[in-house]
Amino acid sequence: MSLFGEVIGNGRAVLAKSGSFTLFTLRLLQVTPKALRRWRLIVDQVYNTGALSLVIIMLSGLFVGMVLGLQGYDLLQRFGSTESLGVASGLALLKELGPVVTALLFAGRAGTALTSEIGLMGATDQLSAMEMMAVDPVRRVCAPRFLGGVIAMPLLAGIFSMVGIFGAQLVGVTLMGVDAGQFWSQMRGAVELKDVNQGILKSCVFGFACSAIAVYEGYHALPTAEGVGRATTRTVVSSSVAVLVLDYMLTAVLL
């Protein structure tokens, strides 16, 4: 096949996949009101995707905050304004690092778990069995997992940012000797509600994208070990790229 033909073929495949993903997402949204009535299923998924991701989120948040504290201190002392470390780390975590790093970790931990779980359910005929019992798998399996992810992401991002600020304070104040009063008071004075809201909005959008991608890939995985493995890989790659692209777009709009 010529290069041109290959480009056309790949372009068509991308368009077909985008269309399929859009239709699937619309179907998810369509069944969401019914799925919301089964709130226990959603709570279970908030636990699976959220609570079970807490350790990795908190550990990552702590170290990201500590690195931010070190780098921020190094940079700010060149300008003699180390007291601004609280503002710098607070804004960086709440507006950018919290939502973005949480979403990337979420895709790697919870997204892959969702994809492989749904994919294996397909490979072992569990989804077919549900269809045979006149139960819509999108409503019963995909929607609760999708909603669980959408709810869990902002909560995880909030926890990530809080632990991150604590990490920055730990390094900046305890280790490098920045004044604790200045660290906190400057942060309180400069960080506004709109900055927090921006972070929450971003994490909601990322939660929507990552969860939709994860359940889509799982639901459409080939019913083989290789198929489920590939779908899991696609989830991480697509979610990561989607998060970074959406982050730029949201930042450009919200600034």
Partner: protein
């Protein structure tokens, strides 16, 4: 003597539960069925037999609307399955129960919740009633004591029995069994055989059983179809098939390697391939 290939069971006054007329089905360019005619009579146990890869499970998927025929017509309870939308299919399937080859139990639920699953999804029965229904069905398959085991803790045979309990918990009109005897020990096999027969007769159901097991089918079925090469090669009562002298039927019923049905998948000449050290493409 068996009836001619594809012929319906002896005519009854009641309309058949399912009728496949001139059904064709292809997958990835490979023809699975070419002009298949099958009639499933109401109230009977009908067996679908045939060598591996002849499309027995696909036939079930056509009946349940999981796949659609490329040609011909699939009718269930008088409805054209190919013309039904998703809601129509779900309405149709509410009257069906299906036992999958591997059980297809929901792995995040225990045995009790697996059996209760269709009841909880489709009814708002109070918990004590759900509990009684589930325990009755589990007792019937001998697994009431395993109610709180996880699906992953069950052996293959136990999983199949739980799946059977789940398939009958809503008392469907049509019960479809895909290889129900595979992996069962002799005791469980006897119980399942009796259960299929008794459930069918006591509740006035229609059962469709896909199986390779000639002996079990001869004990269980009222009528049997033998599939090969994308079509029905023989149909009749198990006793009629047992006395059928046609080579293809004899090969299957007697388990012979040589006969009209090829055991080997089409391949180039064996000796030539070995001598040429040719690596299969």
């Amino acid at each position: 003597m068996s009836t001619s290939a594809g012929a319906a069971p002896p005519p009854g006054s009641i309309a058949p539960v399912a009728r496949l007329t001139g059904v064709g089905y292809e997958i990835n360019g490979r023809t699975i069925f070419a002009g298949l005619d099958v009639t499933i009579e109401r109230g009977k146990v009908t067996a679908i037999m045939g060598p591996s890869g002849t499309g027995k499970t696909t036939l079930l998927r056509l009946i349940t609307g999981q796949v659609r025929a490329s040609r011909g017509r699939v009718e269930v309870n008088g409805q054209d399955v190919g013309a039904l939308d998703t809601d129509g299919l779900y309405r149709l399937r509410r009257g069906m129960g299906m036992l999958f080859q591997n059980g297809a139990l929901l792995t995040d639920l225990d045995v009790y919740e697996n059996v209760a699953f269709p009841v909880r999804e489709h009814t708002r029965l109070p918990e004590p009633l759900v509990s009684r229904l589930v325990l009755m069905k589990l007792e019937a398959v001998g697994l009431r004591g395993a109610a709180r085991l996880r699906a992953a803790e069950l052996s293959g045979g136990m999983a199949r029995r739980v799946a059977l309990a789940r398939a009958i918990v809503m008392d469907p009109q049509i019960l479809i069994y895909d290889e129900p005897f595979a992996g069962l020990d002799p005791i469980a096999l006897g119980v399942v055989l009796r259960l299929i027969r008794e459930t069918n007769d006591a509740l006035g159901l229609t059962s469709i059983v896909v199986s390779h097991d000639v002996r079990e089918i001869s004990l269980l079925a009222d009528w049997a179809y033998l599939l090969s090469g994308g079509t029905v090669i023989a149909a009749g009562t198990p006793a009629e098939l047992d006395h059928d002298a046609s080579p293809a039927v004899r090969q299957f019923m007697d388990g012979l390697a040589d006969g009209p049905v090829h055991f080997h998948y089409p391949a180039p000449d064996y000796a030539a391939q070995l001598l040429d050290r040719e690596v299969p493409a």
